[in-house]
């Protein structure tokens, strides 16, 4: 079938996941025209990666996932083995820039774009060596022996009287992941922020190659520790689509139950930290206490505080007894009451609201321009949530039975993101209660027999936004390529915009209101 009246032929991916169409082309122009059609339809770039197909008799392949109203379309573009060049998409979707640069660093396929600075490659390997090329993977030592050279990076520099730079990182002042921020400021006012990431790059995509599906499930759960359920579920969807398996209904609902518990845990922690960043330590103390109670119940009922390795291809490996479900409902009632009480305090605290309101604004136009998803997009008023029905879109099971209401706020500032987080906690608590009473009986897991050369794509609405996992199996049914995509890829550039009108001391607050993943994008 055709999508958006464009030439590329698509087929619908089977399975229990969110709606995905898969198509391919050998023409860069067709890809470009499709991207423009997606942009016209208010769509977005959702992920972009490359793969080496030379050992299968091809050249290279570029994979672009676009999000639009009806779901996701994955377009593969075949590229020749010699001189693999594809059209620059960053003119249409600006946030494609870093994905394209990362793809060049990893696979060595390039665009004709202007920004050719490296992204993931700092100085640990030479510029003519590509970790994900098939010959590199099978090379003796796999690049371990390269000298780790210091690297320079061309930040965009601002001139003029009084303008100066503040370099921050890679090690930050708090207990957080590493990354470098270069502020150009006049006095306290931020003129420009430029991020340089890649410090967490540990060759995750390289590690996937040759793994079996079970080992891959463990690795995918450790791409971003705060989103382990979202990644494991997206990976499972991709594996199940590739191997033509449908997980049992009970497993699907238990997955959703864990995903909502993950969402609430992260929102609780961040709402506390947001209070703390505005010097309101009471908020941190209260929310961290609630989060600890929440994680302890995870450990008791689900066997792990962050629920790592509970979701696997084919289903789940943990079950909940009726007594456990009752405890979850009781906890939801208690936490709901407490969060409402603390929210009243947050809302009425003048000092806190003074810091939150009008700080770090992103409007809906910018959010669309930067292909934002998740809580960051919803806090600009965009109604986009993969768990919710919208005209032309049916959410995947079990959300199609739960009637999820999206939380939105049109202000686009820190206060809006705080409000969306509060409302998402309420909604997820409601979902947990509903799932606890409507959990279907039946199997927890079905066997997944690996299908050689199959591919699959999984999309899951994690707590930050859309988590996407693309999976490709080799001719023995082992993993040929996995690309995990974190929504932070698109939201990091939005953070650069959000701080522009504000002062340096507001940065930690704005940053925390998004709380983006470093490990998830550095891979």
């Amino acid at each position: 079938m055709k999508l958006l009246d464009e030439a590329i032929e698509f087929t619908r991916q089977e399975g229990a996941g969110a709606p995905v169409w898969v198509g391919s082309t050998a023409s860069g122009d067709e890809l470009l025209r499709f991207a423009i059609a997606v942009h016209r339809a208010d769509g977005r770039i959702a992920a972009l990666w490359g793969s080496d197909e030379r050992h299968r008799g091809g050249g290279y392949r570029l994979h672009c996932v676009f999000g639009f109203n009806e779901g996701h379309a994955c377009v593969s573009l075949d590229l020749p083995a010699e001189d693999p060049l594809y059209p620059d998409l960053s003119g249409i979707f600006p946030t494609a820039n870093r994905m394209q640069r990362a793809t060049r660093d990893m696979v060595g396929i390039e665009t004709d774009g202007r920004d050719q600075r490296p992204w993931l490659r700092h100085g640990a390997w030479p510029s003519n060596w590509y970790p994900l090329r098939h010959d590199s993977v099978h090379e003796v030592g796999m690049g371990v022996g390269f000298p780790n050279l210091p690297s320079d990076y061309e930040f965009v520099q601002l001139g003029g009287e009084g303008a100066h730079e503040i370099p921050v990182g890679p090690i930050h002042a708090g207990i957080i992941e590493p990354g470098h921020f270069r502020f150009s400021v006049i006095g306290e006012k931020v003129l420009r922020l430029e991020q340089r990431l890649g410090y967490q790059h540990k060759g995750v995509e390289h590690r996937f190659i040759g793994m079996d599906l079970a080992a891959g499930s463990k690795l995918v759960g450790r791409i971003s520790g705060d989103s382990t359920c979202a990644y494991a579920w997206a990976y499972a969807v991709a594996a199940e689509a590739a191997c033509a398996v449908t997980p049992p209904p009970r497993a699907l609902m238990l997955r959703a139950l864990m995903l909502e518990r993950e969402r609430i845990a992260n929102h609780l922690g961040d709402l506390g930290a947001l209070g703390n960043d505005a010097a309101f330590a009471f908020g941190l103390t209260q929310f961290m206490r609630l989060k600890e109670d929440w994680l302890r119940l995870n450990a008791q009922l689900l066997g792990h505080r962050f629920m790592m390795d509970r979701i696997v291809p084919g289903g789940v490996v943990v079950d909940l007894e009726p007594s456990a479900l009752r405890r979850i409902v009781e906890q939801c009632d208690g936490v709901g009451r407490e969060v409402r009480a603390i929210r009243a305090i947050y809302d009425e605290h003048p000092g806190l609201q003074d810091r939150f309101l009008t700080t770090g604004i992103i409007n809906a136009d910018l959010a669309r321009e930067l292909s934002l998803t998740g809580m960051a997009a919803r806090a600009t008023g965009i109604i986009l949530d993969g768990r919710c029905y919208r005209q032309g879109y049916t959410p995947p099971a079990p959300y199609n039975m739960l009637g999820v209401r999206p939380a939105t706020d049109e202000r686009g500032d820190v206060a809006a993101r705080v409000a969306v987080r509060f409302n998402e906690i309420y909604e997820s608590l409601r979902l947990l209660r509903e799932m606890a009473v409507s959990l279907p009986a039946g199997e927890l897991r079905v066997e997944v027999a690996s299908v050689p050369n199959a591919t699959g794509l999984g999309v899951v609405e994690g707590w930050r936004g859309e988590v996407i996992v693309g999976l490709q199996l080799d001719n023995e049914g082992r993993i040929a390529r996995v690309h995990p995509h974190d929504p932070s890829w698109q939201i990091w550039p939005a953070l650069e915009h959000a701080v522009m009108a504000d002062i340096v001391p507001d940065f930690p607050l704005i940053n925390k209101s998004f709380n983006l993943s470093y490990s998830g994008v550095d891979l």
């Binding site: 700092h122 100085g123 640990a124 390997w125 970790p131 796999m142 690049g143 371990v144 390269f146 780790n148 210091p150 890679p170 090690i171 002042a173 708090g174 207990i175 957080i176 992941e177 590493p178 890649g198 410090y199 967490q200 790059h201 540990k202 060759g203 390289h206 590690r207 080992a215 463990k218 690795l219 450790r222 791409i223 971003s224 520790g225 705060d226 382990t228 922690g269 009471f282 103390t285 209260q286 961290m288 206490r289 989060k291 600890e292 994680l295 505080r305 962050f306 790592m308 009480a341 603390i342 009243a344 305090i345 009425e348 605290h349 993943s517 470093y518 490990s519 550095d522």
Partner: protein, 175 residues
């Protein structure tokens, strides 16, 4: 203001006795003694600089939890600081990426002697399931000990706050 104060009083003191947190007999006296020792040696709290040298953020979530009201690490005389120059101990998570190797070395060199290094997590310690996933490759140096000298290891994926407390105490005891 009144609802805020009311909530503080209603919440009360949640900090668990160290027996519950550390889960071993006689540990309470041990912690009190260590607190005294830390104060004797340093005249102040033991200061910790956390360095994430390549983790998935899982370990960081549990290190955050150390400061919640239940574990109350800071209330027990262990303080997280912003600069390695102010630190007695580095709490390092891994696997150490090549892109963080240099930054970790600089942080280590900036930490005044005598310093303690605690490696956190299976990746940072080079053990367990996670180490098989995150061992040395073109982008990582492997466990923390491959880059800087490690005094104590706290395995786990991620280690629980209780295990982290035990590890930090074990490192202090070694001195």
């Amino acid at each position: 203001m009144i609802p805020l104060l009311r909530r503080i009083f209603r919440t009360g003191i949640l900090t668990e006795p160290p027996q519950a947190a550390v889960a071993a007999e006689g540990q309470r006296a041990e912690i009190d003694r260590l607190n005294d020792e830390v104060l004797d040696i340093l005249g102040r709290a033991l200061t910790i600089r956390e360095v994430d040298a390549g983790s998935c953020n899982g370990c960081e979530l549990e290190i955050h939890a150390l400061n919640n009201a239940y574990y109350n690490l800071e209330g027990r005389g262990f303080k997280f600081v912003a600069s390695p120059r102010h630190a007695d101990m580095l709490l390092v998570t891994g696997p150490v990426t090549k892109n963080m190797e240099n930054a970790l070395r600089i942080a280590y060199d900036c930490t005044p002697d005598p310093k303690l290094v605690v490696a956190v997590g299976d990746c940072g310690c080079g053990c367990g399931e996670a180490d098989k996933l995150f061992n040395e490759n073109y982008a990582t140096c492997g466990p923390v000990e491959n880059v800087v000298a490690v005094d104590v290891r706290v395995p786990g994926c991620p280690p629980t706050p209780t295990a982290l407390m035990q590890g930090i105490l074990a490192a202090v005891k070694r001195r």
